[in-house]
Amino acid sequence: MTDFGSALGAALSLVVRLDPDLAEIVLLSLQVSVGAVFLATLIGMPLGAAVALFRFPGRTAIVVMLNALMGLPPVVVGLIVYLILSRAGPLGVLGLLFTPAAMIIAQVVLVTPIIAALTRQVVEDLWTEYEEQLRSLGAGPGRALTALLWDGRFTLLTAVLAGFGRASAEVGAVMIVGGNIDHVTRVMTTAIALEVSKGDLALALGLGIILIVLSTGINGAAFVLKEAAQRRHAG
């Protein structure tokens, strides 16, 4: 297979040339995935922490559901978001289909269960350790929740990273709701899918290599930060 050699060449030449199209695609990919993960964190973390802390009817069902939803197929999410945002759908008036906002919405739906489920696990473990102390100090549910999220911050970073990995790697959802429109909604994964369909496997693989390097870099940096901070605070 000469494809790997030419893929590396293609990747290198794209990077070395600082290809403006590539830069745009990478930037949009980051904006969409980071934006989606940010929103999913805002929603998923309090949700996961609340499920960890409170006992209410149907809680087990929610826990099971959150865990199951971690594996939502991106295509299905894309389709559902498409049907909702379609002009013929309930939120058609907003005209969000085929925009980065639609892609963010789809990824928020994909990533929120991951962050919520992992947060629940982390917070539940921490709550076992903290419960008596926090109740003794007179922390109400709200204060306890924020304290647990704050004290679990290093471990929770892993949840955020898992969400980011999911968001930046998926193609099914953003393809459907974004439409892979050049200069508008084309991100790394949809660009790769496009190059595959053009039969330009080397360029596709080249883009893939760049995506892998980027996400490895982000994960690596976050991991190093987390490890250092966690060591400082002894877990």
């Binding site: 949009l28 934006g35 759908g89 085929f98 963010i104 439409g179």
Partner: protein
């Protein structure tokens, strides 16, 4: 659940408002089109000319003809630009589209492995060629995705008197994906496939495949453009859409299409004038 949805949505809107995309263009239309036009590079050739002239950005969502038509039926596109005349005429007749205009034609070709186990190279009767493939039980890779190309292929099989539903899964293999993915599969399986010439010419991963059958009148592949009916879908940008269609079938647009070449070969023959006059 409703509350959560609203929270997600409002938060997403908030985030979206921070995204400084390159597409801050106020004036844009969405064109639902096919992979054949997009992957061939035609749009990359003609759209900059149109955008420069009018300031209207054309956002192309390239899917199979079947999906493109459904997208337009939902009102998610302003203009439909596909290549399956019967479906297009139904689309207009049912009131989803305003009027169909001829834009251009290209043709389909039967491609296959160099060694051509079914011995169809050079034939000009596409149906007969398919029949020989069926008799040889040589692998044939079909789109299987309700696209214009897929519909054309099924019509040819009917003309050849071959029941491919029976053969599905044996020598007849449906990928259920786009033209490019299907060609990738055909190339990997050393199988035959029906492809539009545009995608074929711009396709890079040919790996021992070549055009074996061409020139049959039934392989003729006309493209039509239709404005989505604004009376049906009030969001349709009718004025911008009309402007785009008018440009496509104008001498200027037609010339732009006619000058698009790959390796010196003209991919799409403009034919709007023939009909409008």
């Amino acid at each position: 659940m409703g509350k959560l949805a609203i929270r997600i949505l409002s938060a997403a809107l908030l985030a979206a408002s921070f995204i400084p995309t390159a597409s801050a263009a106020e004036k844009f239309i969405i064109v639902a089109s096919t992979t054949s036009t997009k992957n061939s590079g035609l749009f990359d050739h003609i759209l900059p000319l149109f955008e420069k002239k009018t300031g209207i950005q054309v956002r192309v969502v390239a899917v199979g003809t079947g999906q493109a038509i459904r997208m337009a039926q939902n009102g998610d596109a302003d203009v439909l630009f596909v290549h399956h005349r019967p479906s297009e005429e139904t689309f207009v007749a049912e009131g989803f589209g305003v009027k169909r205009f001829d834009v251009m034609v290209n043709d389909f070709v039967v491609v296959g492995p160099d060694d051509d186990p079914a011995h169809i190279a050079g034939m000009t009767d596409a149906a007969k060629a398919l029949e020989k493939i069926a008799l040889a039980r040589a692998p044939f890779v079909s789109r299987g995705d309700d696209s214009g190309t897929h519909k054309k292929e099924l019509a040819l099989w009917r003309a050849a008197g071959v029941d491919v539903v029976q053969a599905s899964g044996s020598w007849y293999r449906e990928t259920g994906s786009g033209m490019g993915a299907t060609l990738n599969t055909a190339s990997a399986m050393q199988g035959y496939a029906l492809a539009d010439r545009g995608t074929w010419l711009s396709f890079r991963n040919r790996a021992g495949m070549r055009v074996l059958v061409e020139g049959d009148r039934r392989l003729f592949n006309p493209y039509g453009v239709i404005l989505v009916n604004p009376e049906r879908h009030p969001y349709v940008k009718a004025d911008l859409g009309r402007e785009f269609i008018a440009w496509l079938i104008s001498p200027e647009g037609q010339a732009a299409i006619g000058t698009f070449r790959i390796n010196g070969e003209v991919l799409f023959k403009p034919n709007a004038m023939a009909v409008t006059h």
